[in-house]
């Protein structure tokens, strides 16, 4: 006969306001199998936990039900308390009367009745709980970092400096990400390359870091501490061991007019190329889409149409016939740092977006986006840092900066704020004024969001010292008018329409997650929000964890982030990984399926539906060693405890611990509605 203690929490007023907690305790007291019931203001507080511990001893409790908040909130807390009181922690369960009751109902009678039902249900479940031992699993102390931008680099370096192996993969030819494209950085205006490049080199040369560029995650199996990751190394056509980065191949390549991704289309590159001079590693890739030889091969030409780079390469590092290769890595923890892309608002629009025909982007050459301006302002850029407009290479005397293009626009773009634009617009206005003293910089904004250390001072400086003209109002239309770009705006402060004849317009387009992040998230079985940003496990308390144990998130793939935030987040993720690696084994809930070999008929339905391949077939032998049949066996290390196998078992022979049929039926029966 079980002796269960029920502890009803007021949660201050949170529960007590709508649920008559005393009544709940009173009602449950006489429920069969309940030995003790009480209520208290804060069960999770120290006195509250002590009350639980003492009750366990005093009333010889065999099970504990905490009627309080969601198990996701405090189950761990109370299970630890029971453990300390000598009660197997898996004999403790939470009855959620806050999130699922007091917070969502107003009628006190209804809410109280429901709270009693909930408590009763869990009591019935706990009656059938069994003492279980946590599963201990080994931890592979090797981290995978996905994405070689500043966030990925930071996380990789922190973990590597912590003495652990790191595999860093980057889908582009070089690490560095968007930060390597930036000219100067707010709020200090220090040169982006100057602070980033050393970190890139450090990551490349770090003894604990294995770098794979031009590579992507193909497949992820396993679970926290024990992932098996398959990495696709895309065919580079250049042997990374032989290449010495001399650059002769690029010089020899005849296809020289390919818009450079790194230069945001403002500069050209060759078909075999390193994205930028400071690239790490300094090893080119061959862009087969634009390569003359491959174009020829796709056309089915008998002999190769080109081969100049191969001829030019004295190291013989170039091989036109390499194919994608796959490497498997054993990984203990994963950091996702895939970063962002700028919302391109040209004529072709992604599904469900209306776009901005009124802004003429993609049709008026002197209407550019923020990254393109970074390249114009960058000393290493196509204009060597001179602000010259794309159409005619002239120095613009009036430049208009438009905030919130595609951001804070539920109807035509993204409904969220892209967070960094206010700051980089101020920076752009400054950089422009510093280079073109007589020039006129006009910024159309809705609100200036400059919350951050030294941020507001910075944006004020743009206005007060560099005389950027800030006009509060959205722009309605932008179009080419002879040599000028007409901008129709409105000044909501002076209540006038404003028409500006600009020479160049810079659109601060929205920050969006990298394309393909959804597929990656599904490969990692982590969740993402409706905008494609990775969901953190808890918006406040678990900001760098995801809903899959062992997978962490850093930087702009989780939400629009600037450099300081991304770096901070990356270090946080790194720290999380290292605390995971601090132990040789980790504890896991024994929520795993167990097969009853006596009743199993070996139909293997369970194996067919198991997503983890945790179920294998085992032979049953007679005493004299004759194989007389086979049954299913669940590998507890691999089983994740979804229980799908149990639901499809025809002979009721597989049982998921912590969610047994017995437990579930007890709950259902506890909700017996026949009065």
């Amino acid at each position: 006969m079980s002796r269960i203690g029920v502890f009803v929490c007021h949660c201050g007023e949170n529960i007590a306001r709508t649920v008559d907690v005393a009544a709940v305790a009173e009602a449950i007291k006489d429920h069969p199998g309940v030995a003790f019931a009480t209520d208290y203001k804060y069960m999770c507080s120290d006195p509250g936990q002590t009350m639980v511990k003492e009750a366990i001893e005093e009333h010889k409790l065999t099970g504990v039900v905490i009627a309080a908040c969601s198990p996701h909130m405090h189950e761990r807390t109370f299970r630890r308390a029971c453990d300390q009181a000598g009660l197997n922690k898996y004999m403790c369960e939470m009855a959620n009367i806050r999130e699922h009751c007091s917070w969502i109902h107003e009628d006190r009678a209804d809410a109280t009745a429901k709270a009693i039902d909930i408590a009763r249900t869990i009591v019935e479940k706990v009656k059938h709980n069994k003492p279980l031992e946590s599963i201990r699993i080994p931890v592979t102390k090797r981290a995978l970092v996905i994405g070689g931008g500043i966030a990925g680099i930071q996380a990789a370096l922190d973990i590597a400096d912590g003495g652990h192996q790191v595999v860093l993969i980057e889908k582009e030819a070089s690490i560095g990400g968007h930060m390597s494209q930036l000219s100067e950085t707010f709020p200090t205006l220090d040169c982006s390359q100057c602070i980033l490049t050393p970190r890139m080199v450090e990551a490349y040369q770090h003894p604990n870091i294995t770098l794979h560029t031009w590579s992507e995650v193909e497949k992820v199996d396993g679970y926290i501490g024990n992932f098996e990751v398959t990495i696709r190394k895309k065919a580079r056509s250049v042997n990374e061991d032989l290449c010495n980065g001399c650059g002769d191949c690029q010089a020899a390549c005849p296809a020289k007019r390919i818009p450079s991704e790194f230069e945001a289309g403002l500069g050209m590159r060759t078909a075999i190329y390193v994205p930028f001079p400071q690239a790490v590693p300094n090893i080119p890739v061959l862009d087969r889409q634009n390569c003359t030889l491959y174009k020829g091969r796709r056309k089915g030409l008998a002999k190769d149409a080109c081969g100049k780079c191969k001829e030019a390469c004295l190291k013989g590092a170039i091989d036109y016939d390499t194919e994608d290769t796959f490497i498997k890595e054993d990984i203990g923890a994963i950091v996702v740092a895939t970063g962002f892309q700028l919302y391109s608002i040209g004529r072709e629009q992604p599904e469900g977006l209306k776009g901005y025909g009124e802004y003429g982007y993609g049709e008026v050459p002197d209407v550019i986006d923020g990254l393109q301006f970074e390249r114009l302002a960058s000393a290493s850029g196509p204009t060597a840092g001179a602000i010259l407009r794309p159409s005619d290479g002239k120095e613009p005397t009036t430049v208009v900066f438009v905030h919130c293009v595609g951001s804070r626009d539920p109807e035509k773009g993204m409904k969220y704020c892209s967070k960094i634009c206010c700051m980089y617009n101020a920076k752009h206005a400054m950089l422009y004024k510093h280079k073109v003293h007589e020039g006129r910089a006009v910024a159309f904004y809705m609100d200036i969001r400059a919350a951050g250390k030294g941020y507001d001072e910075f944006s004020r400086r743009a206005i007060e010292e560099d005389q950027a003209e800030y006009i509060r109002g959205r722009v309605s239309r932008i179009y080419r008018d002879g040599g000028k770009v007409k901008v129709w705006g409105y000044d909501t402060l002076s209540q006038e329409q404003v028409v500006i004849d600009a020479d160049m317009v810079v659109l601060a387009t929205a920050i969006r997650p990298q394309p393909g992040v959804e597929q990656l998230a599904q490969t990692l079985s982590i969740s993402y929000d409706e905008n494609g940003f990775i969901n953190e496990a808890h918006p406040k308390l678990r900001p760098v964890e995801t809903n899959t144990a062992g997978v962490f998130v850093a930087g702009a793939c989780q939400a629009p982030r600037d450099i300081p935030d991304s770096v901070a987040m990356a270090s946080a993720a790194g720290a999380k990984v290292m605390s995971l690696f601090s132990a040789d084994e980790l504890e896991r809930e024994p929520a795993v399926a167990v097969v009853n070999e006596n009743t199993c008929i070996g139909c293997m339905n369970c194996a067919n539906v198991c997503a983890y391949g945790a179920i294998e077939q085992r032979e049953i032998c007679t005493v004299d060693g004759q194989v007389c049949g086979h049954v299913a066996y669940v590998n507890p290390g691999v089983c994740q405890g979804c229980g799908t196998c149990q639901a499809v078992c025809l002979s009721k022979s597989v049982e998921l611990q912590t969610f047994t049929d017995e437990q579930v039926y007890s709950e259902i029966n506890a909700l017996c509605f026949w009065e």
Binding site: E358, P410, K412, G473, R474
Partner: protein
């Protein structure tokens, strides 16, 4: 406001489905409004009045009658506030409340126009122009064009009245509209 237990915003919501509270006053509507230079209230000012429940000003200001319903504001609004539709609704309310301060000419135009439709089922421009001039008092305006229109067969002196003119009258009655 005691005469109106419900807020203007609530009534606008019923009439148009627009939640005025979603307007964050970015001014994009007014930036592209072809009549902004001629009217005191620009689209986003009108939205503001609705948000602030300033019924009297919203209904009695002349600006709402200067809207061309060209829909540019609505087409570019980031929050689907549909100012054009809201202004339409305000005009209707303004007429019902009898506080419409529509420029005589424009009011005369709409009245003349609808009068034509109600009595002929179709617009008889010549008749409309006459009607309009009588109502607006702008007797001599555009007369210069009239001969040209006639000679080009663009104005017919005879109204073509449809058979179903009674249907039209009934539609006006059922909508409670009397020009």
């Amino acid at each position: 406001m005691s005469a109106h237990p419900r807020t203007l915003a609530a009534e606008i919501h019923d009439a148009t489905g627009v939640n005025a509270a979603t307007c964050y006053q970015c001014g994009k509507c007014s930036a592209g409004c072809p009549m902004a230079s001629e009217s005191d209230l620009r689209p986003h000012n009108v939205m503001r009045l609705v948000i602030q429940d300033r019924r009297d000003k919203a209904l009695s200001d002349q600006s709402i009658w200067l809207c061309l319903t060209c829909e540019t504001c609505s087409a570019r609004c980031p929050n689907a506030c549909d100012p054009a539709r809201v202004i339409d609704a305000l005009r209707e309310m303004s007429l019902d409340a009898g506080v419409a301060d529509l420029p005589r000419t424009i009011g005369a135009f709409h009245k003349a126009f609808l009068e034509q439709i109600r009595s002929n089922g179709r617009l008889h421009e010549m008749g409309m122009v006459m009607e309009y001039k009588l109502r607006s008092g702008e007797l001599m305006k555009d007369v210069a064009n009239a001969p040209g229109m006639l000679s080009r067969g663009k104005l017919s002196l005879r109204a073509d009245r449809i058979d179903g003119v009674d249907e039209i009258k009934r539609i006006f009655e059922k909508c409670g509209v009397t020009p």
